[in-house]
Amino acid sequence: MTARNLSLGLLGLVVLALLAAAPFYAGPYPLGLLIGILSYGVLATAWAMFSGPTRYVSLATVAFFGVGAYTVAVLGDVLPYPLILVVAAIIGALLAILVGLATLRLAGVYFVVFTFGLTELVRQLVTYYEVNVTKTLGRYVFLPLGPEHIFWQLLALGGATLVLAWWVRRSRIGLALRVIGDDPVAASHLGIDITRTKLVLFAASAVIMTLAGAIQAPRWTYIEPSIVFNPTVSFLTVIMALLGGPNRLVGPLLGAIPLFLLFEWLSANFPNHYSIILGLLFIAIVFLLPNGVLAFGEGLLNRLRGLTREVAR
């Protein structure tokens, strides 16, 4: 098992090195695609880190993502860049703890509904603040960061997210989360502090989402609430994680690659019918692959193996 882990880790490092060199050989368009894939890969992995084991479906991904982007837009001229990222992470964590304290004690469906509207609420509050206090809607982001810098930062964030997700799965907290997801009553009888465990993971996943938004803020140049709080982002994150399988380590990442490319192609070719197609795709995934592609593939593989064994007999 350790040998396998070691070789998997080595493989991961090789992939990471190849990707890190990408800005030197890839053109601007492929690099843009890579940034998009990485971004959604990070969001989907962070989403699944909390929602996979607990089965709490969060539809608020873009609320955190947008808060990160807005923090950069507001503080861009005031603070040095690394410090802005720290501030964004703290704001994301505080928001997550606030939301979590209020909603994580509640039954699953209320959580879904609350996160569903949270994006709309944050957008209204930001819009209200900008219109009434700063008297401007929309901000410009001028930071001396090229696409390659954004790419490297996202790559680092993605690597850190995977390592964190891997560690969570192996640690006591991951086990506790799975018990909570399977049976909350049993979990509390086992002495698991359900609320605190969920809160910690929810905040960790939210910080990653916030950073993903903060890192990408310089790409837009111009930022407005309706741009950075686009609910489609939350929607895509959920289908990507579901497609790949939220209970696998690399599942969400693998789900992000084909769907992001499909998404790019659809928005280029069917800009008007885009959300109809996406909605139908979502319904199809919920129907056909309730446990994700990886689980489906493994099931198929196991069946095939069983079949060949019987034939051999």
């Binding site: 909603t103 699953g108 209204q124 019918h273 919920v286």
Partner: protein, 290 residues
């Protein structure tokens, strides 16, 4: 000023109560948390808009076409999309998650169709926009009519649920889905009917909203949220609760809009939502939490 805000709030609250009744039927009886509910409302509002502008049909007559259409459409959605999910999932938690995800997809489909056909701009039409004097405050006639319609439809539904066999069966499924088959109730059929009835109420709400509010293709989310807040506040499956909660929400929203800032109505909605969830998760008018 205060009286006029209160009256406007009550009128708005009447519409909220009506649309919340539909959602409480869908969630309380058919056990489907329908995230596309608000988009059905918006679709009906567009329907009334088209009938008014193209066919010259006034929204009262429009109701006669759109409400049955909402019923049939919701019936089909349940039979084709949600019933297979309900059959597949053994426990209730699984159905909740699956139905949320599936109707979330449906939300994008309906919204996408509305965007393709009507674009993303705000829509409204002028119907009965003449002031009427009530208690010395002028109120638009279309708002008063909307309130009367909401009371009429809501009252009708209440009588249907409390005075007929059908209504008794629906309430039985809402209270004890496990035991309802023991007295010969076909739970599947009742769930389908309740879901369709909820869709018809959403359609009625949409037509009523189109009489006095502006709406856009992407406004569905906000209506889903408001209906949900009212349902949770009133206690899931509780029709009088939905009525009271709808009126409260309408009044609070109008007061916030007139005395604080119109941009903060959603924030007020959320605050109420959170307060209710934290203090009384079974709703202000619900029975004890189970």
């Amino acid at each position: 000023m205060l009286l006029s805000a209160l009256l406007t709030g009550l009128v708005l609250g009447g519409t909220y109560a009506l649309i919340a009744m539909g959602l409480t039927l869908q969630y309380g009886v058919a056990r489907i948390m329908n995230l596309a509910y608000g988009d059905v409302i918006i679709a009906a509002a567009f329907g009334a808009f088209v009938l008014f502008n193209l066919a010259g049909l006034n929204p009262l007559l429009g109701l006669l076409i759109i409400v049955p259409a909402g019923f049939v459409l919701s019936y089909l959605i349940y039979a084709l999309m949600l019933q297979p999910l309900a059959r597949r999932s053994g426990d209730r938690g699984r159905l909740e998650v699956d139905s949320i995800l599936a109707t979330f997809g449906l939300l994008f489909v309906i919204q996408g169709i509305a965007l393709v056909v009507f674009g993303s701009g705000f829509m409204s039409y002028s119907f009965l926009a003449v002031p009427i004097n009530i208690l010395g405050t002028p109120l638009a006639a279309n708002r008063v009519l909307a309130f009367a319609l909401a009371v009429l439809l809501g009252g009708g539904l209440y009588l249907l649920l409390t005075r007929t066999r059908w209504g008794t069966a629906i309430r039985a499924v809402a209270v004890a889905p496990g035991s309802a088959p023991l007295v010969g109730i076909d739970v599947d059929r009742v769930a389908r009917f309740a879901f369709a009835l909820g869709g018809a109420l959403a359609a009625a709400g949409g037509v009523i909203i189109s009489m006095y509010l502006t709406f856009s293709a992407t406004a569905g989310v906000v209506f889903t949220m408001k209906a949900l807040v009212v349902v949770i506040m009133g206690g899931v499956g509780n029709i009088p609760g939905a009525l009271a909660a709808g009126l409260i929400l309408g009044v609070v929203e109008t007061l916030v809009a007139s005395f604080i800032d119109p941009g903060l109505t959603l924030a007020a909605t959320y605050l109420i939502f959170l307060a209710v969830l934290v203090l009384r998760p079974s709703g202000l008018f619900g029975r004890n939490a189970s």
